[in-house]
């Protein structure tokens, strides 16, 4: 890397400021246009064509926004931070809009005019007809009971299946090329002889309409840019606007011819996907460094691009992501995922389709952009393979240790092994990566849907209560007997598995109905253009058209449930330190007045996360049971069920519906998150956490999430960075899937001062000496807080 000037130029600084400082608002434009389209076409055309005509209506009529000085153009809403709504999926009530407007965090301003439109136009048309309404109408009473009790969440009740990522197709083909392919397939249909041909015809025609619609959308940007250029007095900006027009004339109609066109093409596709439907995790360019590499070198060689100009374009591209907050959620879905982040997660490094090292110059350029931009969106991760050079990890580590949470780190070999285990081809596996939080997917070729978080600890709580939910006494599960009736720890585990299977059956029966609903009523013909092999199959993304189809159930609370079971095993069955009567009484009373007994449980139970086989084998056992209960079931789309171990922020919601637990956790407190140990119980340092976590068979999952906390001092200096890299490499040799690092900030330390129990594991390091934060007296804690604030500043 040369010695170019790092940082942002004036243009980027201004655009970034606009993105960061603009208050998120709700825009009614999309809802109005969708309602108009449904009024005009519904009942007259097939479902895919209805969706395509709706998409066309949006692309032809939505506001075109070109912000001052930007180089990459296009907004989902009417401008930056303007979020549309999707009444066909989830029709907000006026109360919802008030909540969205008034809540302290993740709020969106809702104008009186928007409320009026919602009240007079949107609600009357969509009430009772949105997917959300239909889902709650069609679910069984058992499903509804479990949902309300917090046994699981449902992803599709207000956002559409998505969770997917673009492959390399759009860098090789323009939408006009895809239209030609569609025409060939249409010509080959045997409408008289093939009973499925009619459905294919509808789907292919819908896809063709969508291709034209996005080209029109780009054309409107070109036109707008020319209009602005005509009025522009600044000569340099006038030229830029004309360049924007020229780029929008070419892409997405044609394959991109250079670096800038590649970015703009992707961005139009991104807007298309997230405007068509409110897809989970928005959309993502995936292996951006590899996709851009040929354009980058080609342009450099031709002299039409410099490294600095490429960086500026990438920074402008980054801002476009940040301009699109995740559309507002409501109810439980807000609790499980409370953030503006929409989880587009750009992958760097990894391997190429031929298995060779994928790190290139654009990879390093992107790391610089991530570092300089420090934006909430897009997220980023590094895919580390055994072939990745240490320099790549070092550069990533330099960004990580600054402590603002990006990039996360993935094991490329583990991702490939997971995809191979699911039956993907080797090349498709190598082109895969991680999206959303940690989810494995074959980029550009797979529909992989997270269907909901699953509360493992709640299942245990219900098991311990003979099938009842202790929160309200309602019989939710099976009567498998109380722990003393069960007589042994193995019998308890078997009872847990019976309950688990019962609840998973309910969850998946619901999923099947929802999946069918989307396949029939809510196809995504535009997204289907981008993901192979929907076009070839003449089948929608939401109906099984993709090359691979996978559904996930995400297990939450593995650390907490392991500690609970370890406590039961040791104190009830082995050492009999408690009778079940006593322990269940303590749990019922939330340890009130029994702090001594609670502390006894905390301090005398082996915990997951300490490289202690007593606890870790229990973790393995629970994992195995969860895996065999879910894995291999068939989905409506012809795919397969798999498991993931990730929580987003759902461990907080799931904890709030569970009473006190045998590990000493008080009622309502959060569960452990991802596959991280429960809060504050890992006392043996980072290597012990990694050892414990790697005893899980990660390769049987579609993703696991491990969070580690460090104070800045532990990561400082050459040795701190080098050790971080060695720690990552070692975890990956043990087949760990993902690891991310939180650098503890002063605020967290203050929190630790107030709630020492939650932070028993927090080690602070000073030169040649380190101690648990809890062990320091208040004065010294304050000193470390002050210093930490300084280190991160």
């Amino acid at each position: 890397m040369g010695e170019e000037i790092r940082g942002m130029n004036e243009r980027v600084r201004k655009l970034r400021q606009q993105s960061v400082n603009t208050e998120p608002t709700i825009s009614a434009e999309r809802a109005i246009l969708v309602t108009e389209a449904y009024r005009r076409y519904e009942g007259k055309v097939s479902a895919p064509v209805l969706r395509a005509l709706t998409f066309k209506h949006l692309m032809e009529n939505k506001t075109i926004c070109i912000n001052d000085d930007e180089l990459i153009v296009g907004e989902r809403g009417t401008g930056p931070q303007a979020a549309p709504t999707y009444p066909e999926l989830c029709c907000h009530t006026l109360d919802d809009l008030d909540v969205i407007n008034n809540r302290k965090t993740i709020s969106f301003k809702v104008s009186e005019e928007v409320k009026k439109i919602q009240d007079e136009t949107i609600i009357p048309f969509w009430q009772g007809r949105s997917i959300r309404d239909k889902i709650f109408c069609r679910m069984s009473p058992e499903w509804l009971d479990c949902y309300e009790a917090g046994l699981f969440t449902e992803f599709m009740e207000q956002r559409a299946p998505g969770h997917t990522v673009a492959g390399d197709k759009i860098y090789q083909q323009g939408l006009l090329d895809m239209k030609e392919e569609i025409a060939d397939h249409l010509a080959g249909l045997d409408l008289a002889g093939d009973p499925d041909a009619m459905a294919r015809k509808d789907q292919l025609e819908a896809m063709s309409i969508c291709a034209d619609a996005l080209i029109t959308f780009a054309g409107r940007h070109a036109q707008k840019a020319r209009e602005l250029a005509a009025e522009e007095n600044n000569f340099a900006r006038k030229e830029e606007l004309l360049q924007i027009a020229a780029v929008c004339d070419r892409v997405p109609a044609h394959a991109p011819g250079n670096f800038r066109e590649a970015l703009q093409y992707y961005w139009f596709v991104h807007l298309g996907v997230i405007t068509e439907l409110n897809t989970w995790d928005a959309f993502c360019p995936g292996r951006l460094d590899q996709h851009l590499e040929p354009f980058y070198y080609n342009d450099l060689e031709r002299g039409s691009l410099t490294r600095d100009r490429a960086r500026e374009l990438l920074q402008c591209f980054w801002i476009k992501f940040n301009n699109q907050p995740a559309p507002p959620k409501v109810g439980i879905t807000l609790q499980e995922s409370g953030t503006y982040t929409d989880f587009a997660n750009i992958n760097l490094g990894g391997v190429k389709p031929d298995g060779s090292d994928g790190v290139n110059e654009v990879t390093y350029l992107l790391l610089e952009v991530i570092d300089e931009m420090r934006l909430l969106q897009p997220s980023s991760n590094v895919q580390v393979s055994k072939k990745s050079p240490d320099l790549f990890l070092k550069q990533a580590g330099e960004v990580i240790r600054k402590g603002w949470g990006q990039p996360s780190v993935f094991n490329a070999e583990a991702v490939i092994a997971e995809l191979l285990a699911q039956g993907k081809s080797l090349v498709d596996a190598r082109c895969g990566g991680a999206s959303g939080c940690v989810e494995t997917g074959a980029f550009g070729k797979e529909s992989y849907i997270l269907t909901g978080y699953f509360n493992l600890v709640k299942v245990l709580e219900i098991t311990l209560n003979g099938g009842r939910n202790p929160a309200d006494g309602k019989m939710l599960g099976l009567d498998t007997g109380s722990p003393d009736q069960l007589g042994s720890f193995d019998n308890l585990l078997d009872a847990f598995e019976k309950q688990l299977r019962y609840f998973i059956d309910i969850k998946i029966a619901g999923n099947q109905a929802i999946e069918k609903l989307y396949a029939e009523e809510m196809p995504a013909p535009f997204l289907s253009l981008i993901i192979d092999d929907c076009l070839k199959n003449g089948k929608d993304y939401n109906a099984g058209g993709a090359r691979y189809n996978t559904n996930y159930v995400q297990g939450v609370g593995i650390g907490t449930i392991t500690d609970c079971l370890a406590a039961l095993k040791k104190h009830i069955y082995e050492e009999k330190n408690f009778t079940w009567d006593e322990l269940s009484g303590l749990l019922r009373e939330n340890f009130r007045g029994q702090e001594t007994r609670r502390q006894y449980l905390i301090n005398n139970t082996p915990h997951y996360g300490n490289d202690d086989n007593y606890a870790d084998t229990i973790m393995q056992d629970v994992f195995k049971r969860f895996h065999r209960t879910v894995d291999g079931r068939k989905t409506v789309r012809g795919g397969t069920y798999r498991i993931n171990m990730l929580p987003t922020t759902c461990h907080v919601y799931f904890g709030s519906v569970i009473g006190a637990t045998p590990d000493g956790r008080p009622a309502g407190m959060p569960l452990s998150e991802g596959i991280s140990p429960a809060q504050g119980v890992d006392l043996q340092g980072p290597t012990a956490v990694i050892k414990s976590a790697s005893k899980m068979d990660h390769l049987l999952t579609g993703g696991t999430l491990l969070n580690m906390k460090f104070t800045p001092r532990v990561l400082s200096g050459k040795k701190g960075l080098e050790s971080l890299i060695r720690l990552i490499r070692a975890y990956f040799i043990l087949d760990g899937h993902h690891i991310q690092f939180n650098v503890i900030d002063a605020e967290t330390l203050r929190e630790a001062q107030k709630n020492p129990e939650q932070y028993r594991n927090l080690i602070v390091r000073v030169a040649g000496y380190s101690d648990y934060f809890n062990n320091l007296n208040e004065k010294l804690q304050n000193e470390i807080i002050a210093r930490t604030a300084h280190e991160l500043g």
Binding site: N603, T687, G717, E722, L727, A767, Y769, D771
Partner: protein, 301 residues
């Protein structure tokens, strides 16, 4: 069976030798340094530390103590240390770790099992095991056997020592360990006696012998303001190193983060307060050493 008394096993140690290491802290130290920030390491017997703010007032400790040495006052457990026989029953009985035992006996096999848990990271980082203290050479039989066990498995070992042990013991360990971290504090014998309770002669002679023996040695010097950072000591340190044929030194700035532990052991911290050296002071020490031909290593080197 020979057992070692260990008061901490710290995994992911980054500054006690090369790579990522597990540091084993052996209890007992012949020195009595004024500034010591690990006072719990000094006694060769187990200790009990009090953390009164954790006390739940359950009186389990009072019931557990066979000697009547524990009572629970308004601010948590109080120990009459003159009656205490260090049986540790009180600490075992405490549910909240308000009384904590410092020092646990390990057989070589037990230590080996525990320390080898991080072998995967030793292998991946060029790390290994570091024996620190206290003064690890205070438990030579245990140390020797432990070193042999790790040597057999080709695990890299480091001894972090003050050099206060008879030469034959050090010589014996030098054949087994891969590296020494060697502390130089005060060269002048009177000053050494005053501030560490012991003559500096033995450690200085041993350093010379150890270097002559060919063992890799990295010398470290804690910089304690007002005690060992004056010109005559710094010059003497430089001279000592050069006489031994050494050119490098790591400076470890003093920190007072262990001071709170004195109260937990019901000990008085004699110096009252010593402030950590300022960056300026450290710079001066460094420059003075450098002009005398010593290369200053950072903890990264």
């Amino acid at each position: 069976m020979i057992k070692g008394l260990i008061f901490n096993i710290q995994r992911y140690s980054l500054h006690d030798g090369p790579g990522i290491r597990t540091t084993v802290f052996l209890k007992g130290c012949p020195l009595d340094c004024w500034w010591c920030q690990n006072p719990e390491s000094i006694s060769p017997d187990p200790d009990i530390m009090r953390q009164p703010d954790r006390c739940l007032g359950c009186r389990s400790c009072v019931e557990a103590c066979p000697e009547g040495a524990v009572r629970v006052g308004e601010t948590g457990p109080v120990l009459d240390r003159s009656l205490c026989v260090r049986c540790l029953q009180c600490a075992r009985a405490c549910p909240a770790e308000a009384l904590e035992a410092v020092g646990k006996e390990y057989t070589v096999e037990e230590l080996f099992q525990e320390a080898m848990k991080d072998r995967f990271i030793f292998d991946n980082s060029g790390g290994g095991i570091t024996f620190s203290g206290g003064e690890p050479l205070m438990q030579p039989d245990f140390l020797e056997r432990a070193l042999k066990a790790f040597q057999k498995e080709a695990v890299h070992t480091v001894i972090d020592t003050s050099g206060y042990a008879p030469w034959p013991i050090i010589e014996q360990m030098a054949a087994l360990a891969d590296m020494f971290l060697y502390d130089l504090k005060l060269i002048n014998d009177l000053e050494s006696r005053r501030y560490t309770g012991i003559s500096s002669r033995l450690a200085l002679d041993n350093l010379q012998c150890l270097v002559g023996h060919g063992a890799p040695v990295r010398v470290r010097m804690p910089v304690i303001p007002g005690i060992n950072d004056h010109h005559s000591n710094i010059d003497a340190v430089a001279e000592t190193l050069i006489e031994c044929g050494l050119e490098e030194l790591e400076l470890i700035p003093y920190h007072n983060y262990g001071t709170a532990k004195y109260a937990r052991l019901d000990l008085e911290y004699l110096p009252g307060t010593i402030e950590a050296p300022t960056a300026e002071k450290l710079g001066q020490v460094k420059t003075r050493l450098e002009t005398r031909g010593i290369k200053i290593l950072s903890e990264d080197d």
